[in-house]
């Protein structure tokens, strides 16, 4: 169930250039049903900035009722968020949307998780849950440069992890597809989150394979009521536009026209 929760900041730290990891505690955590769901955060009690900010859930700890988000402080909303301190309260709406289907990969099978930049965070909880059920995960994580790489160690603990940077300042130089080509097609499922051009390249490269992609779109309500966040499907019908916030953000490969 979607709830509006005043969550408490239990930790906030900068983990890369302009990249922050924030831990939040509250009963909303108990409502999270799958990795890849997101929350809609009101960064200020005033109406300026006006809109909530959609941020993926990066990991959850049901035992202590805590979730982690990882975000880039870029515009005015996320900058205000980055100034919150331990103990501050934040108005969070969620959990929202449909996440990555863990059930689509069986015990013993291999899954490839491909993340780009600020699309990496939701893959972390996904990987944890896949590993927990006995899926072997390979991570391919692309970043702009060394300065903005994060969570290499965390992912490495869960499985084989390939880091790429566009400028070659860390890991392999190039885009995620560089490594993907080498890894071959010997896996059951792929899961991905990142910028549009990356998702497009991946879908093309893995044509015919079972895959799940997470999309981004500018949002109003975040719950499916305002029709702001639509993306076009490959179908030409009443379903030609689907909503990223409530129908997605994760869709099976082939559903969204990219």
């Amino acid at each position: 169930m979607i709830i509006q929760d005043r969550m408490t900041v239990t930790s906030q730290r900068q983990i890369a250039q302009n990249i922050f990891e924030m831990k939040l505690n509250g009963k909303l955590v108990g409502e999270i049903t799958s990795p890849g769901q997101f929350v809609h955060i009101r960064v200020s009690d005033s109406f300026e900035p006006l809109l909530r900010r959609p941020i993926s859930i990066a990991s959850i700890d049901q035992e202590i009722g805590e979730m982690t988000i990882i975000y880039r402080a870029e515009g005015r909303g996320t900058t205000i968020l980055s100034q919150k301190r331990t103990g501050d309260e934040v108005d969070v709406l969620g959990p929202l949307g449909n996440g990555f289907p863990v059930e689509e990969t069986s015990q013993g099978e291999t899954a490839i998780l491909i993340g780009g930049g600020i699309g990496v965070p939701p893959l972390y909880e996904l990987s944890k849950q896949l590993m927990a059920k006995g899926v072997k995960c390979t991570h391919v994580l692309g970043f702009q440069s060394k300065d903005v790489v994060f969570y290499e160690e965390e992912f490495s603990k869960l499985g084989e992890t390939h880091i790429l940077t566009v400028d070659g300042s860390q890991g392999t130089a190039g885009f995620v597809t560089t490594v993907m080509a080498e890894l071959g097609n010997d896996f059951a499922t792929y899961y991905s989150c990142g910028p549009m051009p990356m998702l497009e390249a991946i879908e093309k490269m893995y044509a015919g394979k079972k895959g799940f992609l997470s999309f981004e779109q500018r949002m109003g309500c975040g719950i499916g009521a305002c029709f702001a966040c639509v993306c076009q499907t490959t179908e030409r019908s009443e379903k030609a536009y689907i909503k990223v916030c409530s129908d997605g953000p994760v869709f099976p490969a082939g559903v969204v026209a990219i």
Partner: protein, 304 residues
């Protein structure tokens, strides 16, 4: 006695608070969050004759204390609304105000006729002010003669009272209001969005794919209050006011300006519980102001 009840043509409102059209879909999403029967009414998303896919994305952009949208009237069309949306809303004890849009008079008339016969639709809201569609919409809302004729045509076929939604993007909104009153409108809803634009800093191109969008939110409230004030002094039909409501105090302002009820749009996105919260807070606010029944507020600003 209910201190919040308001009687308007076609509408027996338990309270004067309702979500604004386009900011509440057809109720299903907010219906997961709270009991929709709490609301005074619901203004549903615009309905057009045929299904519409709306505009390309991005469709929204944030501005100082406001937002721009260019959804482009995405909706499942008349048949979809009648069969897929309105029946679901029947489970709630809440009057529905159906927002009717079109490209030409014949569309408006056909949609109005059919949708006004749905059992829970208690009033129509004639959308002659959508700034985000190429044809129709706002073009009907800027010429008094055209607005009057459209109102008249819709009134002829509607089984329920007709409210006309005015655009703020005009030189003289009083003139338009008087024209739709002359055309037989039972009430006025106002304001729709102000036309605005935001550019991308890097490329200089508009952020919204449609180029321009409609400005809503707290930023527009002073314009909305001014227009409700002016129109309410000039017409004899009731006004449902809107534009930038975010808190209970704003309801007092709109009703003082001359509105008989108030719609909440953009604020639903920021705080999905805003409507029931305002409804809950209203009685204490009335106490604070020493007012017994909320209707005493209507048009307070006109008196000296």
């Amino acid at each position: 006695m209910n201190r919040l009840s308001i009687e308007l043509p076609g509408l027996s409102l338990k309270n004067p608070i309702m979500p604004a059209s386009g900011c509440f879909g057809f109720g299903k999403e907010y219906g997961q969050l709270y009991d929709l029967s709490l609301l005074g009414a619901i203004m549903i998303k615009a309905t057009t004759l045929e299904m519409r896919l709306g505009n390309p994305t991005p469709r929204v952009a944030e501005t100082a204390s406001g937002m721009l949208n260019a959804i482009g009237l995405q909706n499942p069309g008349l048949k979809g609304v009648l069969e897929g949306e309105l029946p679901w809303l029947e489970q709630f004890d809440v009057p529905i105000i159906a927002n009717v849009a079109g490209t030409e008079t014949a569309d408006y008339v056909e949609v109005a006729k059919a949708v006004s016969q749905a059992p829970n639709v208690k009033a129509l809201e004639l959308n002659i002010s959508c700034p985000n569609v190429k044809a129709g919409g706002i073009t009907f809302g800027t010429d008094p003669e055209i607005a009057k004729e459209l109102t008249r045509a819709v009134k002829e076929v509607s089984s329920v009272p007709v409210y006309v939604k005015l655009s703020p993007n005009v030189t003289d909104i009083v003139e338009i209001a008087q024209a739709v009153e002359a055309g037989g409108a039972d009430g006025i809803t106002m304001i729709n969005t102000l036309i605005g634009m935001r550019l991308d800093q890097k490329t200089g191109r508009p952020v919204i794919a449609n180029g321009t969008g409609g400005l809503s939110g707290p930023a527009v409230k002073p314009v909305a209050i001014r227009m409700v004030y002016e129109v309410s002094k000039a017409v004899n039909i009731p006004i449902i006011g809107m534009g930038g409501v975010t808190e209970t105090a704003d309801i007092i302002d709109f009703m003082s300006a001359g509105a008989s009820a108030v719609a909440v749009g953009t604020a639903n996105f920021v705080n999905p519980f805003i409507c029931p919260q305002i409804i809950e807070q209203l009685p204490a606010k009335l106490d604070e102001l020493g007012i017994h029944h909320i209707s005493e507020l209507i048009g307070r600003s006109h008196r000296l």
